[in-house]
Structures are given as C-alpha cells and as structure tokens.
C-alpha cells in the first residue's frame, strides 16, 4: 500500500463532505440574486428611509406596518401587510406622478410591478416575504429611476 499524500487525503476529505453534506440545490441561485440585488443598490439613486412604524399584530397572526421614504421632492409612503406568509404593499407617492413600481424580491426578480394611479397610489399583492426593494421608474424619461434601500418584510 502506498502512503497517501497530504494532497490525496485532503482530496478524500473534500469528496466525502461534498457527498455527505452537499451544497443545497438552490443556494447558488439564491446567493446570486442576493449579491445582484445588493450590487444594483450601489448603482441606483436610493431613497432615504425617514419613518418606520411597527404596528400592531392584527387578528390571526397578520401584521402590518408603514415605511416612509423620501428622495428629492418625492415622498413614498408604504403600508406593508403580512398575512399567511405572503405580503401586500400599498403605496402612495406624493406628489402624484405616473410611475412604474417594480418589486425586486431576492429570489424572483421583476415578477411584480404596478403603475401609479392619478392620485399616486399603487398596490402590489402576493409578494413573498423576505428581502425586498422597490424600484420607481418615472414615466417622464428625463427623470432617472430610483429605489428604496433593501428592507425586510
């Protein structure tokens, strides 16, 4: 029997762990999404969180709270409700302005979007809970898109 080299032994250690404690299937994709989300945070103009209310656990385990963000002259008020593992975001932009609002949850990018009404309101429903960011794209193309920082629902 030949003496196993250190290299060969460490190779065995790697093989054994790769087989007995494998990387979860979803892990790479989840981490790619999280990293990409954080990276776009670096490039977009970010709104600033100015208020956060924790509210009131509602009946049957539902909760809701509000967040307020500002960016320049634009105010964004969000009411977030979580019920049964899904969340709903009702938003109000002041002053009212035609915009497309995109929710960028960590794992399913760009699956949810809404357009503001004449009064500046919008709502997004059936969102997953977890890391979330809203990107606001004014229909006036002279205005650059901006986004909320990532927050956790």
């Amino acid at each position: 029997m030949t003496e196993l080299s250190r290299e060969a032994l460490l190779e065995i250690v790697r093989d054994v762990w790769e087989r007995h404690d494998p990387v979860p299937d979803h892990l790479v994709a989840t981490m790619q999404a999280a990293a990409a989300l954080a990276a776009t945070d670096l490039d977009l103009e970010l709104m600033e969180l100015v208020e956060r209310s924790t509210e009131l656990a509602g009946a049957r385990g539902s909760t809701s709270y509000t967040l307020r963000f500002v960016h320049g002259d634009t105010d964004l008020l969000l009411r977030i409700a979580v019920d049964n593992g899904r969340s709903r975001v009702d938003g109000w932009i002041v002053p009212a302005e035609p915009m497309t609002i995109r929710a960028l949850p960590g794992e399913t990018p760009a699956a949810h979007e809404a357009v503001t009404t004449d009064s500046g309101r919008f709502s997004l429903t059936g969102l997953p809970v977890g890391l979330m960011r809203l990107q606001l794209e004014p229909h006036d193309t002279a205005r650059p898109a901006f986004a909320t920082p990532t927050f956790e629902i």
């Binding site: 080299s5 290299e7 460490l10 250690v13 007995h20 981490m31 790619q32 999280a34 990409a36 670096l42």
Partner: protein, 205 residues
C-alpha cells in the same frame, strides 16, 4: 510562524494549496470582470465560491439556515466593501476569511473553545447517516465517510476547512479552535495521520 514548513514524503508539487487552483483563478477572474462593469462577473464569482463557503461555514456545525445567513452576509459584505479588496487575487481568501469569522461568531457564543481532549470529543454528535447513499456507493463511500466522520471533532473541522480553503489564516484558525497558534501545523499533521490510519483500518484504501 510558517505556513509552508511541513514538507513530508508524498507531498505533491501543489505544496500547501490543497484546493485546485482553478477555483481561485476563476474567482479572481469573475471579480475583475464585475469591477470592470460586467454583472455576469459577479454571478460567476458567486457560483464558483458559494460551494467553498458552504463547506467552510458548515465546518462550524451551523444549521442549514444559519449557514445560509452567514454566506449571504458574506456576499453582501463583498458587494458593499468591494473597494476594500485591493488585490483581486486575494478575493477568494477574503471571502473564506469573512465567512469563517462570521460562522465562528454565530456558532461562537455557545461553543467557546474549552480545553477538552479532542479525542474525547470523537463521535460527540452523530452525523446523519446517509439514507441517500445507494447500495452501490456504500462499500467504498461508507468506509471513507466512516473514517472522516470518526475523527475527533477538532480534526474534522480543521481538515474540512483546510481541504476547502486556500491558505487559511492559521492565526485565526488557532483562535477559533482554541489552540496555540504554533500548533495548527503539527495538529493538522496529526489529524492527517489519524485519517490515514483510520482509512487503512477501515479498508477504505
């Protein structure tokens, strides 16, 4: 303290680099492309390094979800502090070190190193046995696993970290394992020797 001072018969030309160099080169390449403005570079970096981080972090006996949190925080730290990484060649090491520190902190509150004889810790926690192992793999696979699994806890952790990392920082490892800095190299040697013996006894080689 020397990181490379332990040559012995049988060491390959790779010296102290247990992991094939391709991983680290790919990490550097992805990082460079990302910094140059290509988002796919970040994807590639994450794809090549996340499995390494998984094994390093799991060496600290974190649960699946705790391990995922540590890995995610590591990636967020990389993105936010990318300008702090002055040497792209070192990005892989930066990631594993950051993940290991966080894993140790996460596990650390409760597992502050105590001076227990490491041999007494062997078999402390039963590993989940491999329901997934097919009968075909059983023979050789189980023998190899039994040999690795049967190592004292300190050896299991040290060898797993060393096997997946590229030149781990021995000073930090020593702190995390509750060992004197100078003893990491000799301990690694003893752990490898134990593994060698266990493999022979198990008939795994």
């Amino acid at each position: 303290m020397s990181r490379t001072g332990h040559t012995r018969a049988g060491d390959g030309p790779a010296g102290d680099d247990p992991r094939p160099q391709a991983v680290w080169a790919q990490a550097t390449d992805g990082f460079n492309r990302w910094i140059a403005g290509d988002p796919a570079g970040l994807d590639d970096l994450v794809a090549v390094m996340t499995p390494v981080l998984w094994h390093v972090v799991r060496a600290y006996r974190l649960s699946d979800s705790a391990a995922e949190d540590v890995i995610q925080n590591t990636w967020l730290a990389l993105v936010r502090r990318r300008s702090a990484i002055l040497d792209p060649v070192a990005v892989g090491g930066w990631l594993t070190t950051t993940a290991r520190r966080e894993a140790w902190r996460t596990a650390g509150g409760k597992s502050t190193p105590t001076p227990v004889e490491d041999d007494e810790l062997a078999h402390a926690l039963p590993q989940q046995r491999s329901a997934e192992d097919s009968v075909v793999q059983r023979d050789e696979g189980d023998r190899l696993w039994a040999a690795v699994d049967g190592l004292p806890e300190r050896c299991r952790r040290l060898l797993r970290v060393v096997a997946f990392e590229n030149r781990p920082d021995y000073r930090e490892l020593a702190t995390e394992l509750g060992m004197p800095v100078g003893s990491i190299g000799p301990t690694r040697g003893r752990c490898l020797a134990k593994l060698r013996v266990a493999l022979i006894e198990a008939g795994g080689i």
